[in-house]
Symmetry: C2
Subunit: 453 residues, 2 copies
């Protein structure tokens, strides 16, 4: 007997019910992307390692899944090289391809390779799996989906506005209450500039974030610990204590950052985005949050993050504006702004809040019980009529015991069962059973299709 | 400047228009699968090599993309092993994972691993990419999608009937005229049995297939060449000359195969499938074709293949019944029947016949021209209303030259453009331009949403 099969650690099979839920998530996001004029692209699972290496830092390079070259991958290697057992060096000889690590680098590569056919601004979305050789743990997988939308080739802040509308619409459709957090890299740069501590901006945001938990004195103590000067801490006080509405926060910041051109630019951008969204009206709240400091090496303007209000979980969507998507591939000047929905976490949130609509998850609506060859032959044209009305319907393929067929209906939560025996065939009718109530009725084929369509 | 990026040979990027077409194909197939009560699953891109190796023959093993183990993949290897440069042996040390080669083996692995949660019969479908290190050529890729549906755990011929209905419905929805060809492995075995040439069945079907082109004498000559005995050729004559309706062919075969229990069983099965389909009624013709001999090592009952009638291209869908899906993983007795749509070829067929529905491929319906910040602010709430009616709409993000904005509309084949200047803002209206006719009209927001929704 063969060994019991398994799958690579950190990967998953998706069962029919999980797939139905995932499709509901992807379809909802896709539909909203379309409503806003975004177009889908797909790129290959494999990219050249020359495309991927050096784009995610040294740690990222190690987490790339590398694909062994076909044929004789030892060609041209000396004995010495082989016996060095230098895993990293030899991997670069053995492998020229790797699995994509995110959707951003393949997108940048796509823009460069297809620049002649693209009419900018390019509003693209992409929903595909990515692979990372991370240590698997609860909620972290080696294969997972990303759902990215980006607008490149436009500096307009209307793009930020529309991406926030997309985020708001998607979570409203899911029925998930969220807080959209927004920040701006230029405001953070302005703060660092004004207090003269440019290199400590991450320490500062981390400390500020603790205000509610540990109080002002402890925040200031932590800043001192991190080496922030007394003068700087003094200047930081209004920022640490920043509160009120977004407009009030922006007014305070305008005072504090009066001396920083960059900082004022960040305030202007954020004011435009928030005021415009306010006029349009969102379903969810949006909040200026200076502690938001994701992707500071990458983002140059607005930074976004979305938190679910009714579930304890990390950020479920994020994004921001960047200056230079494709420079690394020799095409300068392509700036853009993007968002990425965290499909796996959204899946968990919808599960916890039990928010999947029944229609989205349900499969077959009607099962014909199979009592034998003659009865089945009578049912097939009826099945055809029901399906022609768009109703998912099946006949149990084998004329086995009724109990087994009913168990199949129950296991698949099929809400209606049709029973056809001698009596029904003589009358040209069908007995329809409602599985929830147990009610049965002898009805015509027309009544059946009407009732289920 | 960085080197120009490229993608691995045999792989493809899919542009927005290609994605729209591919989604139309996948969505159509998916919808029909659902109508017949099939459920979707997904499996990881990576499988353990122990799951994949030995399932596709020696040639297949060579075509697997293998993934290098993370970390120190030299662990435990002697100098001697390394210097042997034995690519196949060392690959088995360097790699424990590979990319899936088809959807059948992962499905078998899935059934075995999830047997406790599956209620049989299990009607599953799966639409995912597969990877093969084949030599790339026109129409053959190293990454391509398969769209498989299978019913396992049921011997009923109703499954064959329904799969043929699915094939018929899918191509009818595409608007592609096809011929569905059906054969039965048992009939072929019966023929081989009756003429005493069991090992030459493939040679025989190849020769018979040439009747129209080369004539009876040459077919018989070819059979002689292949070493088929005179007595066998004599017995084969009515089979070579087999013609008429499906019923007539089956009647002839029944005579010829009277001595073969297996052959008669095949005739009985085929008769049931064809007669049942005849009663239900198909949109396309279905034809018994004895030259159909695909997957003879694998299929044990019905064999299917679909040919497009109006395009010169190979088989665009195929499938059949098999006895033992999961035996290789230590779970005997799981028989089933399945089909697989060839998405890449169907894509080509729909392209050649220009059969993509406009709605399926079109994106944005309405573009607001951006004349500046004030005008844009006026447009945003209108955009919101239009989208609330399900209409895909955009505003050009930057207030650049009208010519550039119109070029964007043309490049994306956006059928309507909205123009808003001083006049429109004063009147609370919008000028709507039909891009096909060039007509313009000053209309209210209500009229706009009504007209486009």
């Amino acid at each position: 007997m063969a060994a019991k099969p398994s799958i690579p650690k950190g990967t998953r099979d998706f069962s029919p019910i999980e797939m139905a839920k995932r499709n509901y998530i992807f379809d909802t996001i896709r539909e909203v992307y379309h409503l806003y004029g975004f177009h889908q692209i797909e790129t290959p699972a494999m990219e050249m390692l020359s495309t991927l290496m050096g784009k995610y830092g040294d740690e990222g390079d190690k987490l790339l899944f590398k694909i062994q070259n076909s044929g004789d991958y030892f060609k041209g290697l000396t004995d010495e090289e082989l016996l060095s057992r230098d895993a990293a060096h030899l991997a670069s000889k053995f492998c020229e391809k790797g699995l994509r690590y995110d959707l951003t680098v393949p997108f940048a590569r796509y823009v460069v390779m297809h620049r002649e056919e693209i009419t900018f601004p390019f509003k693209r979305y992409q929903i595909q799996p990515v692979w990372r050789a991370d240590r698997p743990q609860r909620g972290r997988y080696r294969e997972f989906y990303q759902c990215d939308a980006d607008v490149v080739g436009s500096d307009s802040l209307l793009n930020e506005v529309e991406l926030m509308q997309i985020v708001d619409t998607v979570f409203h459709r899911f029925g998930v209450r969220v807080c959209i957090k927004i920040n701006n890299r230029k405001i953070l740069s302005g703060i660092a500039e004004v207090i003269g501590e440019a290199d400590k901006i991450v320490d500062i945001t981390v400390a500020i974030d603790k205000l509610d938990k540990i109080g002002l004195d402890n925040v200031n103590a932590e800043l001192r610990d991190k080496g922030v000067s007394e003068a700087a801490i003094e200047k930081l006080q209004p920022i640490i204590l920043l509160s009120g509405t977004n407009a009030e926060k922006l007014a305070t910041l305008k005072n504090v950052l009066a001396g920083s051109e960059t900082g004022l630019k960040g305030i202007e951008e954020t004011t435009f985005i928030l005021e415009t969204l306010d006029k349009i009206g969102l379903h969810n709240e949006i909040e200026l949050d200076l502690t938001l400091a994701r992707g500071l090496n990458y983002y140059t303007g607005a930074i976004f993050e979305v938190k679910a209000l009714d579930v304890q979980i990390g950020s479920i969507t994020g994004g921001g504006r960047y200056d230079n998507l494709t420079g690394v591939f020799g095409m300068p000047g392509v700036s853009g702004v993007g968002i990425s929905f965290g499909a796996d976490r959204i899946f968990d949130v919808l599960n916890q809040l039990d928010l999947y609509p029944k229609e989205a998850v349900n499969g077959t609506k009607l099962l014909f019980i199979n009592f034998g060859e003659r009865e089945a032959a009578y049912c097939l044209p009826i099945l055809q009529k029901v399906r022609a009305r768009g109703v998912s319907a099946e006949i149990f393929p084998d004329a086995v015991k009724m109990k087994k067929q009913m168990a199949y209906a129950n296991a698949h939560e099929i809400p209606f069962v049709a029973l056809v025996g001698e009596n029904e065939m003589n009358e040209g009718k069908v007995t329809l059973k409602n599985m929830a109530t147990g009610e049965q009725a002898l009805i015509s084929v027309e009544e059946l299709t009407e009732q289920l369509a």
